[in-house]
Every structure is written in structure tokens, then in C-alpha cells.
């Protein structure tokens, strides 16, 4: 019986993030040889003490049930109202006004994150500081509108009268700001607020409309993607999203912004009531340049490379690395991902493509001879397929998972198991001292870690984590290829265990990349990661069939085309419904 099985049987579970804290401590090397054996993780039970040298089991996303029959009842999972994050706020204001004011990023408080994504509904909250930021943000938008009212008014107040024109503005601007038509009561309340402009100094019309814009942008109907839905005939457990709510789901998924006029029109015409209509709009949005910015939010967070431009590299070891080069690493990955998603349309290439993108800064960082003529622009180039293949061999990921002065196989291995395999690693056993010995400059990084993984108390976890990291020892802390370290030849081989289909010996990262290209584990994980981003929450056991549907539509029916994953997701009933649970108390 495995440890994980014990824990599951006992209702005790393993958790994810602690592994980082614990492992970072172990990673410098082995504990003292006289360390006491690890105590059982679970106390006060009849469970035998676990053998800590046995690979501790990882928690993976809920596997598909044996069967997901087509007529199984739909459960869209526990959906929560989603507040706009800073990116969405800025994009939305940009598309509302036709000008990017850049109010939120760099000025508003950064999001709390969960599972690496900044659009998690539960983590997005509003403290008094946020409330103040939304107030000043709304005032900035109102100021922008007031500076050029003529551009935003659907009428001429001199012609039809100020009050009538104000009503028309509230009707049209309000519909776009709240992403749905205003009710008569809402229109009336905003007209009453407009009328308060009379009491303030200055021109009443402009003042009143400024108040209206401020109120519209501080309203929950602007700051949140409110989903009330409508009852579903014959199924009391579900509510169907309205056409406008669905339009926002589409636009925020693909653009991280509000719907455009064509999407609003499609909603008005009832075209979003069918999977075909949704598919048509989904395809249209994907073809728009805004999808490149929008979907990059998913990829940059899944691959955990957003902070690469501000990474610190120790100048004694990496004297020539510049911030421009680090930024270029992210540029490489973005150009590559966009090519794979929108041009190659085959996500197998994400893992094993024998090409990437280079400019002068990147070629210099990688120490490659890619020929003359490279400037600032990124150019698609073939790479030596013996040395690099796919995104895991990009300097962006390799730098993000390294330390300032050296590589970190533990970080790299942890990244692969959590981000690429979607595993949840257990925390270190309780009560075990986690200490580091003297570093030994005569050894390679791998040799130091290899010593430590021979210790029983650490080996349990590290035989899972370290080998996938060792596979990338052929790249330094900024991703430059290397064959020696401290004068010793690099050993980049590794044996993966505990993964299922990917178990086995690998010569190096390139070998793993080739296996990942067609790995069900990797592509199911990509599906799960996109689910987390798309729904703004982590998956639960009730989502297993939905995830299976998405994987099937993406990998099997869709030939690993990311556009097919988007299509499968937006067409899925889980995308169009919410649970009715919690709506029962609604007052009439």
C-alpha cells in the first residue's frame, strides 16, 4: 500500500506549495548522515510508518471517470463572480474609450494569485485600498470623457436638449460599460445622479455626466463579470447564462477585455444561443490581434516567466547578462508561442519544435552563431535539434527556474512536475531537519544534488523532482547551452518515475521534449491549466468529465490545435451555465 493511498484512505491529503519551501532547504545538499528517520506523516492511526524512500505519491488532477456518458447530468462546478484584474481593467477601459489610459497596471495593487494565475475569482478581492484605486480610476476615465464629450455623446444637446441627450448617453455608454442593456430602474437612477450636477458648480450637463461615468465605473456591473443567468427549464440545478453574460465570457477569455460591437450585436441577435453561433464568434475573436495579447496572459503565467525581465543574475557568474537580454528571452517565448498557436496550429510543436526565434540580443546571450543580419526584430530560425527543442529549452523558463549564480535542478524539476504534469507534490515530512552542508566547488551542481538524493529522508521526494531537473543541466542559469561545469563534463541524463506513461530513462531535455510532444499527460495538463485560466478557479472532482471532453476535443478530434481547445471549451455546456445553487434565496 502506498503512502498516498494511506493518506487518501485516511482522508489526509497532500498539498502543493509547501514543497517549494521545504525543497528549497534540502536542495543545497544532503542532511547529516546521523539524521533520525522521518516520523510517520500521519499520527494516531493504525497506518504503518511509511517508507520514506518509497516515492511519495503525487496528487494529480482528477482523472476522467471510467465513463463520462453523453447523457450524464451537467455540473458546471462552483463558479464565483469574477472581478476584473488589472490587465482586464486596462484593456476594458481601452476598448470602452478607444484609448489605452494604462490606469491599473503599475498603479493598482497587484492581484493575489492562486495556482499561478492572476484571474482567480476567489483570490481577487477588494480591500479599502482597492476601493480607493477604483474610485480614482473612475475619476480618471470620467476626466478623459469630459475632455472630449462630443466624441462620446450619441447626440447634440443643443439640438435635442441636454436632459434628452444625457439620457441617450447613459443608454449607450452604460450599455457598453456594464456590457448589457441598463434596466429602466438603473437608467432612472443614473438620470437622478446626472441631475445632481445642477447642485454643483460648473456646467450642469458636463458635471452630471461626469458623475454618471464615475458611478458606472465604480459599479459592480463594471468591475465584475456579473452572471445572474436565467432558470433552465426542466433542470433546477442549472442557470443558463444570458447572451450578454456569455459574450463577456468569450471576450474576457480571448481578449482579456470587453466585447466589441460585433459581439454585442451577435448577442442581441440571439446568435450566442447555439454552439455554432458561439463557435463563429469564438473563431472571430481568435483571429483578432487582441487574442494575441489576451491569450499571452494564459501562457506567460502557465509558463511562469512573467518576472524574467527583472530576474537578478549574479554578475560574478553572469557578467554580461543585461536586462535587455532577459526581456528578449520572454520575447522569444512569446513569438514562439504565437507561431505555434496561430501559424503552426499544433501544440505538439510547443514541446518539440526544432525552431525558435532570435534577435541580436538573444544570439549574443545564447552564444550562438546564427549569422549576420540579426537586429532587434525577432526572426524565426532553425535551432540545432540535438541541443534544443521546444519551449522547455527556452532561456526564459531555464532562467526563471535557476538561481542567481547557478542552475537549480530542484526548481526545474518542480516546474516540470507541477506546471507540465499538473502534479501536486507533497510537503516534506514533518519534523525532519532540513539542513544544507558545505557547498563543494569541486563538484558539479548535479553531483551535489546527487549526494543529497541518496539520503533516505530527502530521497523520497527528490527522486521524483530532481531527475526531470537534471535533464536540463545542459543549460546554465540563463539558458545558454553548456557541456562542462567546474571543468567536469555535464551529465544530463535522468530517470523519470511516478509519472505513468512518461516513466523511463532520458538522455537529456531534448529527449524529454520529444516524449512530451505526444504525451497524454502533458496535453491533459495543458488542458487543465487552460481550464484554470478560463474559469478563474482550480478544477474539482466534478469537473473531471468536462476536462475529459476538452482534452478529447483538443487532442483527439482537434489534432492538438489550441484553437480546437478554445472551440471545445467555448462550446461546452459548462461554459454556458452556472450552478443554480445559492440562487434559491433570491427575493422576488
Amino acid at each position: 500500500m502506498s503512502l498516498a493511498h494511506h493518506l487518501r484512505t485516511l482522508g489526509v491529503a497532500l498539498s502543493v506549495a509547501p514543497a517549494l519551501g521545504g525543497l528549497m532547504g534540502c536542495e543545497e545538499g544532503p542532511p547529516p548522515a546521523n539524521m533520525a528517520p522521518a516520523p510517520p506523516v500521519v499520527g494516531g492511526t493504525t497506518a504503518p510508518p511509511p517508507d520514506v524512500t518509497e516515492p511519495p505519491e503525487v496528487v494529480t488532477p482528477p482523472p476522467p471517470p471510467p465513463e463520462c456518458p453523453a447523457d450524464a447530468p451537467l455540473d458546471p462546478g462552483p463558479t464565483l463572480v469574477r472581478r476584473l484584474n488589472r490587465t482586464e481593467y486596462d484593456h476594458t477601459v481601452r476598448d470602452l474609450l478607444g484609448e489605452d489610459l494604462g490606469l491599473a497596471l503599475g498603479a493598482f495593487t497587484p492581484e493575489e494569485e492562486m495556482l499561478g494565475f492572476d484571474n482567480n475569482a476567489r483570490a481577487l478581492q477588494v480591500t479599502p485600498v482597492h476601493a480607493e484605486q477604483f474610485m480614482t480610476g473612475a475619476e480618471a476615465v470620467a476626466g478623459h470623457v469630459a475632455a472630449d464629450f462630443a466624441a462620446f455623446l450619441p447626440c447634440d444637446p443643443a439640438e435635442i436638449g441636454e436632459d434628452a441627450c444625457a439620457a441617450a448617453f447613459i443608454h449607450t455608454f452604460g450599455r457598453r460599460a456594464w456590457r448589457r442593456p441598463l434596466t429602466a430602474a438603473e437608467q432612472a437612477r443614473l438620470m437622478a445622479l446626472y441631475a445632481e450636477g445642477e447642485a454643483l458648480e460648473g456646467p450642469a450637463f458636463e458635471t452630471g455626466l461626469s458623475l454618471v461615468v464615475q458611478a458606472l465605473l465604480q459599479s459592480p456591473h463594471f468591475l465584475y463579470r456579473v452572471e445572474v443567468g436565467t432558470p433552465v427549464e426542466g433542470d433546477a440545478t442549472l442557470r443558463a447564462l444570458t447572451a450578454d453574460e456569455l459574450a463577456s465570457r468569450l471576450s474576457y477569455l480571448l481578449w482579456a477585455s470587453m466585447p466589441d460591437a460585433a459581439l454585442f450585436d451577435a448577442a442581441d441577435r440571439g446568435e450566442l444561443s447555439t454552439p455554432e453561433g458561439i463557435a463563429a464568434q469564438s473563431a472571430r475573436l481568435l483571429a483578432d490581434p487582441r487574442a494575441r495579447d489576451g491569450l499571452w496572459r494564459f501562457f506567460v503565467q502557465w509558463l511562469a516567466i512573467e518576472d524574467v525581465p527583472s530576474l537578478v543574475r549574479d554578475a560574478r557568474y553572469y557578467p554580461d547578462v543585461t536586462p535587455e537580454q532577459l526581456a528578449a528571452l520572454v520575447g522569444e517565448t512569446r513569438a514562439f508561442v504565437e507561431f505555434v498557436v496561430f501559424e503552426a496550429r499544433d501544440m505538439r510543436a510547443l514541446f518539440d519544435a526544432p525552431y525558435s526565434f532570435r534577435n541580436a540580443a538573444l544570439a549574443s546571450l545564447y552564444g550562438e552563431d546564427v549569422g549576420a543580419g540579426l537586429g532587434d526584430a525577432l526572426v524565426k530560425v532553425p535551432v540545432d535539434p540535438q541541443v534544443r527543442r521546444g519551449v522547455l529549452t527556452h532561456g526564459s523558463i531555464l532562467a526563471a527556474t535557476a538561481k542567481p549564480n547557478m542552475t537549480s535542478p530542484v526548481h526545474r524539476g518542480k516546474f516540470i512536475r507541477e506546471h507540465i504534469f499538473c502534479e501536486t507534490l507533497p510537503p516534506p515530512p514533518a519534523g525532519v531537519p532540513i539542513v544544507a552542508p558545505d557547498p563543494d566547488p569541486a563538484l558539479t551542481t548535479r553531483e551535489r544534488w546527487a549526494i543529497h538524493s541518496s539520503e533516505p529522508s530527502c530521497r523520497g521526494c527528490h527522486q521524483l523532482i530532481d531527475p526531470p531537473g537534471f535533464l536540463f543541466e545542459g543549460y546554465d542559469a540563463v539558458g545558454k547551452a553548456r557541456s562542462v561545469e567546474n571543468g567536469h563534463p555535464i551529465d544530463a541524463t535522468g530517470r523519470l518515475i511516478g509519472t505513468g506513461e512518461l516513466d523511463g530513462d532520458y538522455a537529456d531535455g531534448v529527449a524529454l521534449a520529444r516524449a512530451l510532444a505526444t504525451s497524454e499527460t502533458a496535453h491533459r495538463c495543458l488542458t487543465t491549466q487552460f481550464f484554470r485560466y478560463a474559469f478563474g478557479r482550480g478544477e474539482t472532482s466534478v469537473d473531471a468529465c468536462t476536462l475529459d471532453d476538452l482534452y478529447t476535443g483538443y487532442a483527439e478530434a482537434g489534432a492538438y490545435d489550441f484553437n480546437a481547445l478554445v472551440g471545445a471549451l467555448t462550446a461546452h455546456p459548462a461554459f454556458r451555465h452556472r450552478r443554480a445553487q445559492g440562487f434559491e434565496e433570491v427575493a422576488p
Binding site: L14, G21, V81, M114, L115, V129, M135, A185, D438, S541
Partner: protein, 445 residues
């Protein structure tokens, strides 16, 4: 205090002469020495544990007559203002999902077991956020001081928006992110400066009208959404009410407590300027308390599990969290770790100096402040959550008797947290999860 306006208080406190730069707080410039002066609470956080054998009194040492260890040595001038503890355990952090740093942070000021994340996948649990209000926020609510800011949360290089980077909570799963940038903190404390009074009054009127409207949106919407959504929206509305309550103060900044110039702009994530950032935030915090902009404040040095090298001290190789894991026999790394720990003590000593330099009546701001200095762990290389290195400092308006060491045989830190309500004059029988709370620590009050 309730019969005084803040402005009269400031006048009486002699802060009208508070001049620039911020550090040049006046000595003996009191216009009026009569009180009363309010109590303030200031929470300090330092990450990754310490070395209690080099810290101060050891378990079983007497209440008085002990020695500061080398780590706390910089606090020697304030020894009689300190209360040090042995045997206070973070029991609530021994349970729940997540690793010790996460559990320690989540329970540190809430006294509750960490929650689960919303990621219940298969059989696995994932760590969530703190599961209740933190003691500082609780006390801020109880004080209901009516100050421009209900509380002030500052940080230095708090890089990650994750549970191990959060200790302040407005309620379950409602972490309060600290402000890392002294320039932004300055603006938050002092509001708009030098605006046209007429324009600012008009803006105040506009803001009140707009917020009235927004509250109506919330009320109407809350009736139509799911219960879970309603809770989320109600939290937002509560923050808006907080904002509404201080709109007036935002356009009527503490003019008599001249804020001076903004601190210089620095990269809040700079390693090299970490020390300068700490100084800037301490100075702002002292000024905010001295000017009675708030009575509850916190300052968080980095995060549990930080990637922070003290390059400004020449410690270029190891990040703080890595050093905390150095083996006990590794003299070089242990020496670096002790240097880092001692550096933090010097910053706390600087803070106490600044507080002591602000006269209040016959005493000082330090006399009226209760400082709580804490850490999510006791020791880094064992991840021990027992015997946390709690330090209380200051006077708490006469409620805290300093110069003492209190040694227990493993009492929950909730007992210390609830003691804070007594020291701050808003006593309560229990705080956090009652299963971990016996009431105030024996002998402390």
C-alpha cells in the same frame, strides 16, 4: 479623545511643528503637554525564523535579570522596554494543508488553522489563505478611532501575492496586501497635498454623490446573485464604506503635521536598496502614528521563503531563506545568517529610537505604542513552529511592563494575541480559534 477633533489633538500634541525632512522630529517642541494620547499598535514581521539560542533569555530564565543575546544586542538601549517570550507555540499552524511557512503565516496573526484553497483536486488538498481576521484588524475595528486610515499596512520587498506573503486579513480569505513603495505609501498617508481647497471640497461632494449611487448598485445586485457571489460583493461594499468614512479626511490632510516631501523614488524590489527601503518605510510609519493618521499599523519585512540577498552587506551568494536552512555546523553560512538576523534587530532598534523621539505629553510616542515583533517560524532549518521569537516593546500607554522575560511550557500563541486586546484597552476573553486559546498569557498583563 472622542471629544477632540483630530486637528486639536495634533495641535495639543505639538505636532504643528513637525517639519521636514521627516526624520527631524522636534524634541521638546510641545505646545501643550496635556493628554490624553491614544494607544497605537504596530506589528513587525521578519521571516524564516531566528536562532533562539543566540537571541535572549533561555527557557526557565527568570523574569528579570537576563541578558540579551548577540542577535538582539542592538536593542540594548531599549532592554527595559521589551518583553521577551519563551515557550509560546504557533499551535494553529501545526494543522491544515500546506507547508510550515504557509501554515505559519496564515495562523500567525489570525490564530486559526490555514484554509484550503479552492483547488480540491482528486484526493489532494491545497493550501488556501488565512481563515479569519488578523489581530491588528480586529483591534483596529474595536478601537474605531475615526482616524483618516483605519489601519496602515506597509511592506518591504513583499514580492509574491501568495499565502506565505500575507499575514494581515480583514476576514477569512481576505488578505490585505502591504504597500511596498514608500512613494505610494506617502501618498496614502498624506493624501492630496497642496490642492485648491475649493476644488477639493467640490471633489468631496462629487465622490459622496457617486458612492451613494454605487451603494445602490450593490444593494440591488446582492439580492439577485448566488450566496457565494453575495458574500464577495458584500466584502467589496464593506471596503467602500471604509472608503466613504474617510473621504473627508482625504481632502483635509493632516496639515498641521507637515508631511514634507515624498521619499525618493526607489525600485521597491531592489535588493541593493533593501536597507534604504526599510528606513523609508519605518520613517513613514512613525510619522503616520505621530500624526494620528492611523493607530494600527504593520510593517512586513519581505515574505516567508524569500529570495532576498543582503547584497548591501556583501552577502552576495545566499538568499535569506537559503541561509535560514544552513546546517548548524556550517560556521560560514551560520555566521551570515546571524548577521542577517542581527541586522533586523538594528532596524527594530532604529524604529524604537524614532518612536522615542516623538514627544507626547510628558512621555513619547514609544510610551503610547505597543510593538509586536514576530516571525512565522522559530527556526529555519527545522521549520519549527514552536517557541516563536515573539517580542513586545514600547509602553502601550502604560499597560506594558517592560524589561521582562516570560517563559512558558508551551502555550498557544493565541494567548499572546488575545493579550494584545487587553494591552490595547479593548479586552476580550478569546481570539482566533477558541480551541487554541486559554485567555491572556499568565503574568503578562
Amino acid at each position: 479623545m472622542s471629544t477632540l477633533t483630530r486637528r486639536t489633538f495634533l495641535r495639543r500634541a505639538g505636532l504643528g511643528a513637525l517639519a521636514l525632512p521627516l526624520l527631524q522630529l522636534p524634541r521638546g517642541a510641545r505646545a501643550d503637554s496635556s493628554g490624553p494620547f491614544p494607544k497605537r499598535l504596530l506589528v513587525l514581521f521578519q521571516p524564516n525564523g531566528t536562532k533562539k539560542e543566540l537571541w535572549g533569555p533561555q527557557p526557565g530564565d527568570p523574569e528579570r535579570g537576563w541578558q540579551l543575546g548577540p542577535i538582539l544586542e542592538p536593542l540594548t538601549p531599549f532592554k527595559d522596554r521589551l518583553v521577551l517570550f519563551n515557550g509560546v507555540d504557533n499551535l494553529a499552524a501545526l494543522e491544515g494543508p500546506g507547508g510550515p511557512h504557509q501554515r505559519g503565516m496564515a495562523a500567525l496573526l489570525t490564530g486559526r488553522v490555514i484554509g484550503e484553497g479552492d483547488f480540491v483536486g482528486g484526493d489532494g488538498r491545497r493550501a488556501g489563505w488565512g481563515n479569519g481576521i488578523s489581530i491588528d484588524q480586529h483591534i483596529a475595528q474595536r478601537l474605531a478611532a475615526g482616524t483618516p486610515l483605519t489601519s496602515l499596512e506597509l511592506g518591504v520587498r513583499v514580492q509574491e501575492s501568495v499565502p506565505r506573503g500575507r499575514m494581515i486579513y480583514r476576514g477569512p480569505e481576505q488578505p490585505v496586501p502591504p504597500e511596498n513603495d514608500p512613494v505610494v505609501a506617502y501618498q496614502r498617508i498624506f493624501g492630496q497635498q497642496g490642492g485648491d481647497p475649493t476644488a477639493m471640497r467640490r471633489q468631496l461632494a462629487e465622490r459622496r454623490s457617486v458612492l451613494d449611487q454605487v451603494f445602490q448598485d450593490f444593494q440591488a445586485l446582492e439580492r439577485r446573485v448566488s450566496a457565494a457571489d453575495r458574500e464577495k460583493l458584500q466584502q467589496h461594499a464593506a471596503s467602500l464604506r471604509d472608503l466613504e468614512g474617510r473621504l473627508g479626511a482625504m481632502v483635509d490632510p493632516p496639515a498641521q503635521c507637515a508631511p514634507g516631501v515624498s521619499p525618493p523614488s526607489r525600485d521597491p524590489m531592489s535588493e541593493a536598496e533593501y536597507g534604504a527601503l526599510v528606513t523609508a518605510q519605518i520613517d513613514l510609519m512613525v510619522t503616520a502614528l505621530a500624526c494620528d493618521v492611523t493607530r494600527v499599523a504593520s510593517l512586513q519585512f519581505s515574505t516567508a521563503v524569500n529570495a532576498l540577498r543582503f547584497t548591501f552587506m556583501g552577502l552576495n551568494d545566499q538568499q535569506g531563506h537559503s541561509l535560514s536552512h544552513a546546517g548548524d555546523s556550517n560556521a560560514i553560512l551560520q555566521g551570515q545568517w546571524e548577521a542577517m538576523l542581527t541586522w533586523y534587530s538594528r532596524q527594530v532598534a532604529y524604529l524604537l529610537e524614532r518612536l522615542a523621539a516623538v514627544p507626547e505629553g510628558d512621555g513619547t510616542l514609544l510610551d503610547n505604542t505597543l510593538i509586536v515583533w514576530t516571525n512565522e517560524l522559530s527556526r529555519g532549518n527545522t521549520h519549527s513552529l514552536r517557541d516563536l521569537p515573539f517580542v513586545l516593546a514600547g509602553g502601550a500607554g502604560g499597560a506594558l511592563r517592560g524589561g521582562r522575560h516570560l517563559s512558558y511550557d508551551g502555550l498557544p500563541h493565541n494567548d499572546l494575541l488575545v493579550s494584545l486586546t487587553h494591552l490595547m484597552g479593548v479586552p476580550e476573553p478569546s481570539f482566533g480559534d477558541a480551541a487554541f486559546c486559554n485567555g491572556p498569557l499568565p503574568g503578562l498583563l
